[in-house]
Subunit: 361 residues, 2 copies
């Protein structure tokens, strides 16, 4: 049973950050920047409320927000902090309706934290939900797309204040055009996507994501055996423990793509795990066999602290453990797998749930 | 003295097409598609009115329209014909104001003709004006940018009905983001840009462009010496007559770029002219010396008919004449030259007016 989070203040941020990093599966942006921006905004504007959909008026707008782009760019090109205000004002001007709450588009990585900073500045509550239950690289890889909502109102902005409003005919077109805009913006953009009335959000978002992230963060932080606590908290399979012996990474087409190889140590000596990356960890191969794959979560963590390591922070020599755990049931529906399963990323094999693939070793 | 055009019907279209091709300096898209679409729309919806700014209410919106992208793409990926309606409806929805007239963003090439088709379908008049007095490759190379208007409302759409609304912080950002969207759309987009109230358009557009294009077209069509008539109609310098001996062309970054070499024949035997292209003819070099350059107009025409040849239609062996003539005075202001002079295209030399450069031979 996860304790519901009702407020985020400076005390909660470190737990949220640890949890978001773990749910980020390497993506969503390294949590350091997002943590600092959240702490600063909370100090300036006070704690923010975390609410459920039931706490909000049905006709108010729910605004999912986050950064789009390659996390390798995000390390150096940080948000201005004004993005939340620019997005909210533009959405209200376009729709003539009031935004009553914000929500992280993705709970994973810095994208689970930046909405805290933006909400504090906006004086808005955050809904205890997100659109992924993790992080995914592409715009259409969200719960709203899976349940069939159209991407008819997406707003992107950059640090200069350029503003793009996109009404796309499909999720794939939204990704294609949104990615091009993000690259033109210099590799990252702040985005509000799939904006909708609160009354239409139930079933179209993944509820409880903030509470879950905080619970995972607390479990890992409070334990003398952080890795064991993590495995227990998320129901993970340990894929390998070892050392990073190879990292190949490039920023291309608006994504960070690459591979990392972990060479087993201790009980895993003699084995190696290769992980393929598109912003997030997509697939883990063990001697050519799939041990875990999207939409399930694959996270590389520090072997001692169990702190997740973002894909853009992977380095030769790091001592790590790789864990994998089940995605939200929404992603295991036919359309969920079509949207974010292995074939959606160009792999020529079918999704195998971690409960099956992870046990094959 | 140019005869003002007050109506466009099927009789006028061929003259308009010839004039637009000549003013296109190779760009704006080959006029064949635009002519056919105009003729079809005029047959279906009847002739359109051509009006002056004085004929319109000051608070109505003037909507400049045209296609953006590489003309090499435009040959194969033709408009759906619905673009005008999609753009107008979206502009009215966004602004809450009524569009009272359309205008070609650029009078050059097919972009001088497509607005006829769209206006006919919309039941709107066309203003006898455009934003260039010719064709230019980049979004910010328009009169509105030269006079300091901000690109705060640009709408782009594609054949699928995807819609992007852009509010940019500068003309350069508008070009950068608009180009990225156009490439994502598959290499071409239909655009309404620098939409403004009629009352603010005076001085911000180049008036008389449609009448001028039709007058040029008539002059060339009515003469037994089309090339002579063209030279007289626009006050052109003949740069060379000869044969196309080399064409190099590639579609890259949303533009058609390349060079064409014309080898002199007759009196010009022994000379060669090299023209550098970015959608439009930018600079004509004669043995390394600049004989004509942007923002002045350089047009390659058929040696016999004086029909302009679009850059994407240049072929080895064509018998051509190359003429150059002065741009609108707006482009010879400091900000005009900064926006569309040689240095704006990366050349390391200053603008030399055709009256000077053309006489150097």
């Amino acid at each position: 049973m996860i304790e519901p989070v009702r407020r985020i203040d400076a005390e909660v941020v470190p737990f949220l950050a640890r949890g978001c990093a773990i749910l980020g599966t390497g993506g969503g942006g390294e949590v350091y920047t997002g943590s600092l921006m959240s702490l600063q905004a909370l100090e300036e504007f006070g704690p923010i409320d975390v609410v459920t959909l039931d706490d909000l008026p049905d006709d108010g707008l729910l605004m999912p927000i986050g950064m789009m782009g390659a996390p390798t760019v995000g390390i150096e090109k940080i948000p201005s902090g004004r993005e939340g205000v620019v997005l909210r004002d533009h959405v209200e001007r376009l729709t003539g309706r009031r935004v009553v709450a914000a929500m992280p588009s993705e709970i994973g990585g810095s994208n689970g934290l930046l909405p805290v900073a933006w909400a504090a500045q906006l004086g808005l509550p955050l809904v205890d939900a997100d659109s992924m239950g993790r992080a995914f690289p592409e715009l259409q890889q969200v719960s709203q797309h899976v349940v069939g909502r159209r991407p008819d109102l997406i707003v992107l902005t950059d640090v200069h204040g350029n503003l793009v409003t996109l009404g796309a005919t499909s999720g794939e077109w939204a990704e294609r055009v949104g990615r091009a805009v993000t690259v033109a913006f210099g590799g990252s953009s702040a985005m509000a996507d799939f904006i909708m009335p609160v009354g239409e959000a139930r079933g179209a978002v993944i509820e409880g994501s903030i509470s879950r992230a905080v619970a995972i963060g607390r479990a890992v932080s409070d334990s003398a055996d952080p890795l064991g606590a993590l495995v227990e908290a998320v129901g993970a399979v340990r894929l390998i423990e070892g050392r990073v012996v190879d990292v190949e990474r490039r920023t291309t087409g608006g994504f960070a793509r690459g591979t990392v190889v972990v060479d087993g140590t201790g009980e895993d000596r003699g084995r190696a795990l290769r992980i393929e990356i598109q912003n997030e960890n997509l697939v883990a191969f063990d001697d050519g066999a799939v041990r875990a794959c999207v939409p399930d979560l694959i996270t590389v963590v520090d072997a001692v602290t169990a702190d997740a390591i973002a894909t853009e922070m992977l380095r030769y020599g790091q001592r790590v453990a790789v864990v994998a755990f089940p995605c939200d049931p929404l992603w295991r529906t036919a359309r969920g797998i079509e949207t974010a399963g292995p074939r959606a990323f160009g792999y020529d094999f079918d999704y195998v749930p971690i409960e099956v693939a992870g046990a094959r070793a």
